[in-house]
């Protein structure tokens, strides 16, 4: 094939086209991912910001069909199979009614007590005129929004006022404990529970994970045992979180049933000089912050170790050699050069695994954490409370708690209306907490990254 002949040019053109196609495919994939994200966030935000369905008494009126019905006087409405509440006479708010006349409605004597299960009630309706015993002049099924018959005027229930006109992400929501009432339910206990959980988890995971990675990568000789350990860590990274939950339940929460809650009490008295009562820790820890944090630490450890090893491995050998050549010991080389240089990579791994840990509901649920809790760990109510009772900081890890994903999960499962909006607001708080924690780590990472331009 000669350079410059037809065939060659055609090939060049096709090569170019294929390249462009590929670029567009990649662009499409990015768009797809972005679109999914937008849809997801959009649905969560729209749910959290929607006013929600109100409940309570709603006025009833008759629809205007514009037709002049040839009837003998008044119409009687008989409703059955009502979903969303019941009709009442204003005079007697105790007695449900199934049947009422058009005059009653026009006179404002009929109200609908909305239970909030649907946006507007749906009911079956049969209409007859005053003579009563005759055949009804109309029978309608599932009258409701979108299905209003045009043959004759029918009762129309005006929706009650929305539950939270400004959405569900309110100050109340952020400061309240959990509750059965969606209007009162709040996320405070879960937020502080998650903060404590992640704080303790990272305190455990970062030193242990990075230390293990350093040992495996820098010190351990590549023996069969090291390889076996390595393989096991890689496998552990893929173990489902529920398994860690069961492990955490047995080991930390129940402690193999080796202790009796009434008998084994460790009493910490060293804080008494602060005027605090001794801190009693009963020994099967139970579903407290510490057992949750230990469980999550186990869960995220393999990923932290693996990514830290990867980060350490990516440091060019020339960096180590340069340090050794200046007379650095192995320890000095690792501490002053290798670790700082690999810190961005290590932090990426820590961020990834802790983000996973904070969103885990399953293992937390398995160790026995309840959603219905309305206090922060250690019953800390605020900064002034903490200044007065600093011992609460030590009490908190041994206190019962609830976490953000646990709350969200319980709200999603809640049958009462409007809880889906509460759950959406909870998800937003969860995401915001995640962003806040990651933001700190990303800031640290960037401080170190600006030096690293290989």
């Amino acid at each position: 094939m000669k350079l410059g002949d037809d065939n060659y040019e055609r090939r060049l053109i096709w090569r170019h086209r294929i390249g462009q196609c590929f670029e567009w495919l990649c662009r499409l994939a990015t768009m797809g991912a972005l679109a999914m994200l937008v849809v997801l966030m959009g649905s969560i935000f729209s749910s959290a910001l929607s006013p929600g369905r109100g409940s309570g008494l709603a006025p009833v009126s008759l629809t205007d069909t514009g037709k002049n019905l040839d009837t003998q006087g008044d119409l009687t409405y008989t409703v059955s199979k009502i979903i969303g509440g019941d009709f009442y006479f204003t005079s007697d708010p105790e007695e449900k009614i199934k049947s009422f006349s058009g005059t009653d409605v026009r006179g404002g004597k009929v109200v609908f007590n909305h239970n909030g299960k649907r946006a507007a009630p749906v009911f079956d309706l049969s209409v007859s005129d005053l003579s009563g015993g005759k055949e009804p002049i109309g029978k309608f099924k599932e009258v409701g929004p979108g299905r209003i018959p045009s043959e004759c005027p029918v009762p129309h229930v005006h929706p009650p006022k929305p539950a939270k006109p400004w959405g569900w992400l309110t100050w109340n929501f952020l400061t309240n404990g959990n509750s059965d009432d969606p209007l009162q339910a709040g996320i405070m206990a879960g937020f502080w529970g998650s903060v404590w959980l992640i704080g303790l988890t990272s305190l455990m995971v970062v030193p242990i994970g990075v230390g293990a990675a350093l040992y495996l990568e820098e010190y351990a000789k590549p023996t069969m045992l090291t390889k076996f350990i390595q393989l096991n860590i890689a496998n552990l990274a893929g173990v489902p979180s529920i398994v860690y939950g069961i492990l955490g339940f047995t080991v930390f929460s129940r402690m193999f049933g080796a202790f009796d809650k009434q008998v084994t009490v460790i009493s910490m008295k060293f804080l008494q000089f602060l005027g605090a009562k001794p801190i009693d820790i009963t020994l099967p820890l139970g579903p407290v912050v510490l057992s949750g944090a230990c469980t999550l630490a186990l869960l995220s450890l393999p990923v932290v170790i693996i990514t830290s090893q990867e980060a350490l491995r990516s440091i060019p050998a020339s960096l180590r050699h340069a340090a050794y050549a200046l007379g650095a010991t192995k320890w000095q080389t690792i501490w002053h050069q290798v670790l700082p240089a690999s810190l961005p990579g290590i932090l990426t791994g820590v961020i990834l695994s802790l983000s996973r840990a904070i969103g885990e509901a399953a293992p937390i649920a398995v160790i026995g954490v309840a959603a219905h809790l309305s206090f922060a760990p250690g019953r800390i109510t605020g900064i002034s409370d903490l200044i007065q009772n600093p011992d609460k900081l030590i009490r908190a890890p041994f206190d019962r708690f609830t976490a953000l994903p646990t709350l969200v999960y319980s709200w999603v499962n809640e049958a009462a209306p409007n809880f889906e909006h509460v759950a959406a607001a909870g998800i937003i708080v969860l995401l915001a907490t995640l962003l806040m924690m990651n933001g700190t780590a990303i800031l640290i990472r960037q401080r170190f990254q600006q030096w690293n331009r290989w």
Partner: protein
């Protein structure tokens, strides 16, 4: 890792070094700073150096030349035991620094490397600020005084002819320097620990002629106070800057002599072929 940790302090044999060894030292050349006697080097089972006998003069530049893969870098690295880092390496024979065998059991590798600094072919600044790069050596040696460190940094950078270019940006990343500046930074970093010997492995091979000239000037300056061993593929460079030149070929030292004499009047056929470009 083969990095041997020895906690005994490396004894500086400045006093007894001159009379301990060296009956075969040629009187005209003075006492050698470094001497290798019957040295063999092995990467695992593969032998890379065979029976090297070589003397390196104090306060002079010794150039190592030879075709690629002949063991120049290996020899250079064995002079400050950087080869220890590579798994499975082995040395037999003697490498004497001021008459003291650096491979003997009671030598502390770390203090040896403080006395014998090294500059690599590829510049390897630490991903830190320029100041921290240079201060690293003194710091790990225990220097914590801030003003002392500043003095060391300034002196080293001036010695490496880099001070004027970077004096206003000592806190910036060393990674932002140009290739030639990075290489001079590495030289300054090696100088900061105040070594006696500086080993340079093709320090100018990736640089433009101007930067190369600066580094050559620098070497010329430095040899007043330091013993320099330099590996180079550039014959002219070797001729310009070195007093002594050693020619290596496939793991053997073929010839060593005064640079002028080796380039104009080599005793070995191989050397002549190599320096006239007829090699291989």
């Amino acid at each position: 890792m083969a990095l041997v940790k020895r906690f005994t302090q490396f004894v500086n044999p400045q006093g007894d070094g001159s009379n301990a060894q060296g009956p075969e030292v040629a009187p005209s050349l003075g006492t050698p700073k470094i001497e290798t006697r019957g040295m063999n080097f092995f990467y695992g089972t593969k032998q890379a150096l065979y029976d090297i006998n070589l003397q390196i003069q104090s306060r002079a530049v010794t150039a190592l030349i030879g075709p690629s893969g002949c063991g120049k870098s290996t020899y250079l690295r064995s002079l400050n035991r950087m080869n220890d880092i590579i798994e499975g390496t082995r040395v037999t024979g003697e490498v004497l620094l001021d008459g003291m065998d650096i491979y003997s059991r009671d030598v502390d590798v770390v203090s040896l490397r403080k006395r014998v600094g090294m500059v690599f072919q590829k510049s390897t600044p630490f991903p830190k600020s320029i100041f921290d790069n240079i201060a690293f050596g003194p710091r790990i040696a225990g220097q914590t005084n801030k003003s002392e460190l500043q003095g060391i940094v300034e002196r080293s950078l001036k010695q490496a002819a880099l001070w004027n270019e970077v004096k206003d940006r000592l806190k910036e990343s060393a990674m932002a320097l140009s290739g030639g500046q990075q290489q001079r930074l590495c030289i300054a970093r090696a100088l900061a620990t105040n070594p006696e010997v500086i080993l340079m492995d093709e320090p100018a091979s990736a640089l433009d002629p101007a930067s190369t000239a600066r580094i050559e000037d620098l070497i010329f300056e430095l040899k007043q106070n330091y013993t320099i061993v330099i590996v180079t593929h550039n014959m002219q460079q070797a001729a310009r800057i070195s007093e002594m030149t050693a020619f290596f070929c496939v793991g053997r030292l073929v010839e060593i002599g005064q640079t002028k004499q080796l380039f104009t009047n080599p005793t070995q056929k191989e050397t002549e072929d190599y320096i006239t470009g007829r090699f291989g």
